[in-house]
């Protein structure tokens, strides 16, 4: 009975909604909740008022704007999506978590096109999972660079990590970089030597693959550079601006600290890109993450309200509002037109970010557990006494990364075809099915030219693969791949 009633009610509601929906009429008053950073509360209220006055659809938002830190928005939303903000700002590292938790509504096609056309590629990638856009880029300034105290650090030393550390030790002042408690900062050393940690998500925000080269000869070089810093008694794992007020001479942090630090150091404030470190006679410029803040829309039950909210989100992340935010809060815009404006180009903090940009890596999507896994490298590196110890730290890291992906037994023990087949270039696995006690056969037949090479591997890893040298096709044709598990023999067959 109850179910029937609910269905009937839903039907009536859908019909009536269809009426308005068909007309595309969004006019009305909506009570909404908006979560933004404490600093941006007043400005956001003002911007929503502006939207109410200027929009041509007759939408009026009755908005409650609450201060919720962008770093906590993810945790808060996941606590209870239903009670979360209808619109909420969050730092991009929480993006995948929010998609997985179903806390972000997809953008409509038109909205997505607008966003992609008007924002820089890095921020669009940050708001995308699989091929779906889930959020609106709000800023493109979530990176870090170096602030220093000119009264302690001579101008000529700012390019060298070793010189900076020496200056700090001499002055008994701290070099603050949050390497031990935050993987976000720690990764800078690894990016500096060309290591990567790239993650692939599907349309639901689940992580399906990782390409991570922290554990490599390059990674070892990075670890050596990192050791120079963490071994210094005057290294401080902090990214707080106020470190300058308690005995720091260098602080690696971001644009958000600019005004606070300007107040603390006055004329002595120096701002520049990160320094280089030297290993085996070679210089490596420390890299950085280049991230952004995003604005998300909570999934809605009411299509009309959803459409109105997306309108507001587009407005709030448009060029005009981003410029207002830049002027009032120095937040660097993600909007391409706003980025090109003279005022933005002239901002010293953003200038340092731009100087650092060639060495920075777009943050993309990163597994939520990586932040916990990554940050222990610094402690491990500090405890290491020799190169083997450094290597062990990296091994420990890789072990944990690989543990993030659980494979079902079907995948773990199943065999797949990989190679230059079906238009792929050794970057895709094609499934096989067990056809007899020991024989596996590919699910599809591949068109192969003479000389096409491929292999068969188990559990999507190279631990077990056949044949030892690639299989080479001798005669062009369309073949199934056959693999005998007990003999390790690979063959092709037309049927």
């Amino acid at each position: 009975m109850k179910k029937f009633l609910a269905i009937a009610l839903a039907l009536v509601m859908t019909l009536s909604l269809m009426g308005t929906a068909l007309a595309g009429d969004l006019a009305g008053t909506y009570d909404i909740k908006v979560w933004v950073a404490e600093k941006a509360v007043d400005l956001t209220k003002q911007q929503i008022d502006n939207f109410n006055k200027t929009n041509d659809a007759g939408i009026t938002f009755n908005a409650t704007v609450e201060a919720v830190s962008e770093a906590d928005a993810g945790t808060n939303m996941i606590t209870d999506v239903e009670a979360g903000g209808d619109l909420y700002c969050f730092a991009q590292d929480q993006f995948a978590r929010l998609v997985q938790a179903g806390a972000l509504a997809k953008l409509g096609k038109k909205a997505a096109d607008t966003v992609i056309a008007n924002n820089d590629a890095g921020t669009v990638a940050a708001a995308t999972s699989g091929d779906t856009l889930y959020a609106y880029p709000l800023t493109s300034d979530n990176g870090y660079f170096m602030y220093y105290d000119k009264s302690v650090i001579p101008e000529e030393d700012v390019d060298s990590l070793e010189a900076l550390i020496a200056d700090c030790e001499k002055a008994q002042k701290y070099f603050a970089m949050e390497t031990n408690t935050s993987a976000w900062y720690l990764a800078a050393f690894f990016f500096g030597t060309g290591c990567v940690s790239e993650w692939v998500t599907d349309n639901d925000g689940s992580f399906i693959e990782v390409h991570d080269t922290f554990n490599s000869p390059q990674g070892l070089i990075a670890a050596k550079g990192l050791k120079k810093l963490v071994d210094s008694p005057f290294s401080l794992s902090s990214s707080e601006a106020s470190a300058f007020a308690s005995d720091a001479a260098v602080v690696v942090t971001g644009i958000w600290a600019y005004e606070d630090i300007a107040k603390m150091l006055g004329d002595n404030m120096g701002v520049t890109d990160l320094p280089s470190f030297e290993v085996d006679g070679q210089q490596y410029h420390i890299g950085s993450f280049n991230g952004c803040k995003l604005l998300g829309v909570k999934p809605q039950e009411d299509a009309v309200k959803a459409a109105a909210l997306h309108r507001l989100a587009q407005y709030l992340t448009g060029e005009e509002c981003q410029m207002e935010r830049f002027e009032a809060l120095s937040w660097g815009p993600s909007n391409v037109a706003a980025q090109a404006s003279d005022a933005v180009q002239a901002n010293p903090g953003l200038a340092a970010l731009i100087k650092q940009a060639p060495y920075s890596v777009p943050q993309g999507q990163i597994h939520g557990s990586w932040w916990d896994i990554g940050k222990v490298i610094a402690d491990d590196v500090k405890a290491a006494t020799d190169e083997a110890g450094l290597q062990a730290a990296l091994d420990n890291y890789t072990d944990k990364i690989s543990a993030l992906f659980t494979m079902s037994d079907d995948v773990k023990f199943g065999w797949t075809v990989i190679g230059a087949v079906a238009g792929s270039m050794w970057d895709k696995d094609f499934p096989m099915t067990k056809v007899s006690a020991s024989e596996w056969k590919s699910d599809e037949a591949f068109e192969m030219d003479a000389g096409t090479e491929f292999k068969v591997r188990q559990g999507l890893s190279w631990d077990n693969n056949f044949p030892a040298d690639n299989f080479k096709v001798e005669e062009a044709g369309t073949y199934f791949v056959i693999f005998n598990e007990s003999t390790g023999e690979v063959s092709i067959s037309a049927e």
């Binding site: 839903a10 701290y174 008694p233 308690s246 299509a303 939520g368 557990s369 072990d399 944990k400």
Partner: protein, 513 residues
């Protein structure tokens, strides 16, 4: 192990006595565990027997009862109404109506969904015209589990009430048969402030405990058998569901964690547990002895301004910990004022790694905990010390006992006897001392080996702060947090049980009256 009689025991030297007590403590553990199992078995057996008896009693009531009683089996309170106990009758009937109404309107749905925890999660649809995605909600596993459990509670309450209703009839028949009068509604009300006064007094507290402690605990125990986490939260199409013992297998298996290379959950749990026990031991006993010492110092005859000293210490109780501990935590930072002071005095060249080095961090939290804990102990010890009869000391002094002997022979045994139960509760309290660790270190420094998919684990993390991290961490693994919670319970219960069986002063509450 040799057991001594009381007389033999008295003849032993001090060292032997201690050894004997120590060994018999551990020798007692297996027996205590056995007793626990026996007690559990007796409980189950007793429950079975009781249920059997109850059913037999219900049957015989029905067979031997008159028509009023028989009708009461279906219409609760009918017998009471028919026999003139209007108040009781109405209450019974009302309860039945409410119960049936609830079950029909809502309870049935929740109960029916409980085995599956829902079949259809939210669906999402793209609306072409408005160019937006719309979500439609269907089943919600969390609500099903919550209201399912509440409905079960309600059913138990109904069965109990129904049973009371049957009993009432049986009793009423007996009373009427013996020619006495039944209690009126007025009598009932009067008895509630007199011979049934305890029921009145307990009604409110127990309802609160039932709804806000028991029900949540039952719920969280059940969550340990599901896969409820941040991604199975009712907003994606992943409803959560029952997974049996899987989570316990994950937590307790000694094979390595996911992927095969990382430390297993059980090893991590073991590491955190060991530190939790070490912490609880030191936190309890440093506070205990130092608190006692300070109390004795202040109480010493001839010391003036007693009230001032006490008040200064007691400030730490009055000021909320989130203020004082956060501040103290910053004081001990690498660039905090403690290091700054020590360096400016030239006593140290480099900052001391109070929060960076595992051992330093562990020692520092214990030391700062002394700062928090001594005032409580001082207050308690002050009261108890005043109660020790002065003539005990006097005669000891006449016998030539020095202050240390007086302390070990009189003060300490007396304190230990009186505060035995307090020591136990403060030990288990310290095991779950969330505030001190969370506010001071947040668990830091990170333990590289132990940190894994369950979130980062630090060297100063207690089980309780680890549990918190799992709950709020990257993957919001509520199911894992529940497993840890249950294991914490098991550990605390075992410790309490063992101590309970060893310490004489806890057992007999009537001794104190």
């Amino acid at each position: 192990m040799k057991t001594y009689s009381d007389l033999e025991f008295l003849k032993l030297s001090k060292g032997e006595k201690f050894k004997y007590k120590f060994l018999s403590f551990f020798a007692g553990i297996p027996k205590a565990l056995l007793n626990l199992l026996l007690a559990l078995w007796n409980l189950i057996k007793g429950a079975g027997v009781t249920i059997g008896k109850e059913i037999a009693d219900i049957c015989s009531t029905f067979i031997h009862g008159d028509w009023k009683t028989k009708l009461s089996f279906i219409f609760m309170g009918f017998g009471c109404l028919a026999r003139g106990q209007i108040l009781r009758g109405i209450l019974f009937l009302l309860f039945e109506v409410v119960f049936i109404g609830y079950m029909v309107l809502a309870g049935g749905y929740w109960l029916g969904m409980l085995p599956s925890l829902g079949v259809q999660g939210p669906t999402k649809e793209y609306n072409e015209i408005l160019d937006v995605e719309v979500t439609t909600f269907h089943d919600n596993s969390f609500k099903i589990l919550l209201y399912g459990v509440l409905t079960l509670f309600f059913i138990v309450a109904f069965i109990y009430t129904w049973r009371q209703n049957v009993k009432q009839n049986q009793l009423a028949e007996k009373i009427l048969a013996s020619g006495k009068k039944l209690r009126s509604g007025k009598d009932d009300l009067r008895s509630l402030v007199d011979d049934q006064f305890h029921k009145t007094l307990l009604a409110l507290p127990l309802t609160g405990i039932l709804l806000f402690t028991v029900m949540p605990i039952v719920f969280m125990i059940l969550v340990a058998f599901t896969n409820y986490d941040g991604t199975h939260n009712g907003y994606t199409n992943n409803l959560f569901t029952w997974v049996g013992m899987d989570n316990f297998n994950t937590m307790l298996s000694w094979t390595a964690g996911k992927g095969g290379n990382t430390q297993s959950y059980s090893a991590t749990f073991g590491e955190v547990l060991v530190w939790t026990l070490i912490w609880a031991f030191f936190a309890t006993f440093t506070n205990y002895f130092l608190g006692m010492f300070v109390a004795m110092a202040i109480n010493k005859k001839g010391i003036k301004l007693k009230k001032v000293w006490r008040t200064i210490l007691v400030l730490t109780i009055a000021i909320p910990q989130f203020i004082s501990l956060l501040y103290v935590s910053k004081m001990f930072a690498k660039n905090g004022i403690v290091n700054g002071f020590l360096m400016s005095m030239g006593w140290i060249q480099e900052a001391l790694p109070f929060w960076e080095d595992p051992t330093w961090a562990r020692v520092t939290v214990v030391l700062i905990n002394i700062w928090i804990g001594i005032p409580y102990l001082m207050l308690i010890a002050t009261g108890i010390l005043m109660n020790i009869p002065a003539d005990l000391y006097e005669s000891a002094r006449i016998d030539g006992a020095n202050p240390w002997q007086q302390y070990t022979k009189i003060t300490l045994p007396y304190m230990l006897f009186v505060t035995g139960p307090y020591l136990l509760t403060s030990f288990t309290g310290n095991m779950n001392n969330f505030n001190v660790i969370y506010l001071l270190t947040g668990g830091a420094p990170t333990n590289p080996a132990a940190s894994s998919a369950a979130g980062s684990v630090g060297y100063t993390d207690l089980l309780i702060t680890w549990l918190f991290k799992i709950t709020t961490g990257a993957e919001s693994q509520y199911y894992l947090a529940s497993v840890v919670g249950i294991l914490v319970f098991v550990v605390v219960a075992l410790i309490s049980l063992v101590v309970y069986n060893v310490l004489p002063s806890i057992k007999n509450e009537e001794d104190f009256q």
